[in-house]
């Protein structure tokens, strides 16, 4: 699925976006290979939407560089055709019908897949004569997603795509997304704060908090390099080389911690348990939020 010669889907160097004095994204470095379903997670205000809007060229960076599929985002019409984007509020033209939206897609996109669009519209129970302004939030999201998908982009960017969908529709949507990505060898970049969804469909993860990238990598690698250690109290203050403490979980006479091991480092002699993806994300988010159980010398250890 992954073509080693194709340029990375996303390549950011020192990417920074400021709105006036507010820093939304600060010195982000990212390199995401193609053919992945990338989950972008983080708390509200972490900069997820900013990163996605930068990636589709809706906004320009304040500093640093960003290349999407090897070119500046929205560089020209040809590049626009390669990237699909659905904004968080899934905008559609209220005065136009569902059918009008498909006609718009057909006229504005050279690689438009009319069959795909019609199939999807029928699948989600929309009728071409319906006015888009009368659709429910979920239906509107489905319409916006259809327009973005039927242009057959190489990268599909979705900002909180599942937010407006009911559980059943969300399940169906994620299913179709996986199918679509698999079929086309396309990549998808989606933000979500539903860790369950991300765990289900994503094979690459970017954790964003406070405008910075906290963690990024293929899910399988990340899980292979993170462990939960259980060790006698105090032992964790002196971690061997090659181990990085992510989050400490004090519990009685023993202490538990999530650590990251550098490649090639054997796990330490303490009890080692595997870490789930959700726990892993929460550990990094907790560390970024300045959770007191996180940083190295805890008050007890200092005594």
């Amino acid at each position: 699925m992954t073509d080693q010669n194709s340029p990375p889907v996303l390549h950011a160097e020192g990417l920074t976006k400021r709105y006036g004095r507010r820093v939304a994204l600060s010195h982000c470095d990212l390199q995401i290979p193609s053919g992945r379903v990338i989950g972008l997670v983080g708390p509200n205000g972490a900069g997820k939407s900013t990163l996605l809007q930068l990636a589709c060229g809706l906004i320009a960076p304040t500093a640093g560089t960003l290349r999407v599929l090897g070119a500046r985002p929205a560089a020209d019409a040809a590049h626009l055709a390669r990237v699909g984007y659905v904004a968080q509020d899934t905008p559609v033209y209220a005065a136009l019908t569902v059918g009008d939206h498909l006609r718009m897609g057909a006229r504005l996109n050279p690689s438009w897949d009319a069959a795909l669009a019609e199939r999807r519209i029928a699948q989600v129970g929309l009728h071409p004569r319906q006015k888009a302004g009368r659709l429910s939030g979920g239906q509107r999201a489905q319409l916006a997603l259809t327009v973005a998908a039927a242009k057959r982009p190489e990268l599909l960017i979705l900002d909180e795509p599942a937010a407006a969908l009911d559980p059943l529709a969300r399940d169906g949507f994620l299913h179709h997304l996986m199918e679509y990505v698999g079929e086309l060898g396309a990549s998808a970049l989606l933000s979500s704060h539903l860790l369950g969804d991300v765990a289900r469909v994503c094979d690459h993860l970017v954790v964003l908090a406070a405008g910075r990238v906290q963690l990024a990598g293929d899910v399988a690698d990340l899980l292979a390099h993170h462990h939960r250690l259980v060790a006698p109290r105090g032992e964790l203050d002196r971690l061997p080389a090659g181990l990085e403490l992510v989050r400490r979980e004090p519990a009685g006479a023993y202490e538990r911690a999530i650590v990251r091991t550098a490649a090639g480092t054997p796990p330490p002699a303490w009890t080692v348990e595997p870490v789930g993806l959700e726990e892993l994300v929460l550990a990094y988010l907790g560390r970024a939020a300045g959770d007191p159980t996180v940083p190295a010398p805890s008050p007890e250890a200092a005594r």
């Binding site: 809007q53 589709c56 809706l58 906004i59 320009a60 929205a74 020209d76 019409a77 040809a78 626009l80 055709a81 990237v83 699909g84 984007y85 904004a87 509020d89 905008p91 559609v92 033209y93 209220a94 005065a95 136009l96 009008d100 006609r103 718009m104 897609g105 006229r107 504005l108 996109n109 050279p110 690689s111 916006a144 327009v147 973005a148 242009k151």
Partner: protein
Amino acid sequence: MTWLTWRQFRVQALAGLAGLALLAAYLVHLGLAIRGGDDAYRSRCGAGGDCARALAQYLGDYQNTLLYLAGLLALVPALLGMFWGAPLVARELETGTHRLVWNQSVTRTRWFTVKLLVVGVATIAVSGMASLLLTWAASPVDRLAGDRFSTIVFGARNVAPVAYAVLAFTLGTVVGLLVRRTLPAMALTVLVFTVVQFVVPNVVRPHLMPPVTVSRPMTADAINEARGLGSITGGPVVKGLTVPGAWVSGTSELRTADGRPLAQDRFDHCFRDPPRTGATGTFGDTAVCLARLDLHVVLSYQPDRRYWAFQWLESAIYLALAALLAGYGRWHVRRRVS
């Protein structure tokens, strides 16, 4: 892109077309009535009747109506700027649909340019049609009244109204792009355009070409032709002197033979307490009294033969402003908006 622009613009286009149809029907009706009046005037005049009275009656029948229509035509550009220009981009930014359309395989600049061109052509068509019909309907009266260069009539005939409409529409679009909300954009468009429409005829137009000046002796007859006499700050003046077919852009104060302004007390004497001569005319004895002082005024005016030069010159200025605004809008939509 043309299809989408048209699809979004359809309802506004139909509303504009309906308005234009109403106006056109009335103008055709009026044009025919004016031609009837013109024939009646000519037959009365040709049959040895009182030509001056017949003319006055004929002009009196239609001049006020035509003046109201000139006012109405002055509204057309403002309305087009408000209802076609201001929402064009502002509504997209307001409802967030720009984030949908900017991610189709069409660049923003192309999107903006096509929108501006499609609706701009409609603007030209509607304002051009309205101006053409009014120019046609009023042409018999205009020919006889000789006032086509006067401020209000000038802006309501021939090409000038089209140029006004193009500027108003472009202004509305760019204001909408900057303000990003439809209603404030509409209000601001009308406000700015009104200021422009006030400033240009009063401040800019008189200077488009250096005016011709003429010194006119103030005989009793000449004084009686004026619309008013009085003294505002700066000395005694006569108001409403005309040059046939020309646009009088300035009238000096009353001057004596040596070129100095007439002294206030001498004017007051003639104005309040003139020697009785039994003269008739608008200003009666006052006119006679003033005429004896050997006065003159200096009129600056644009002669009738410059009419078309002014029409094209002013239109060119408006179109150039519109082009500048459109160019700025294109730059802004590419670089600044998100």
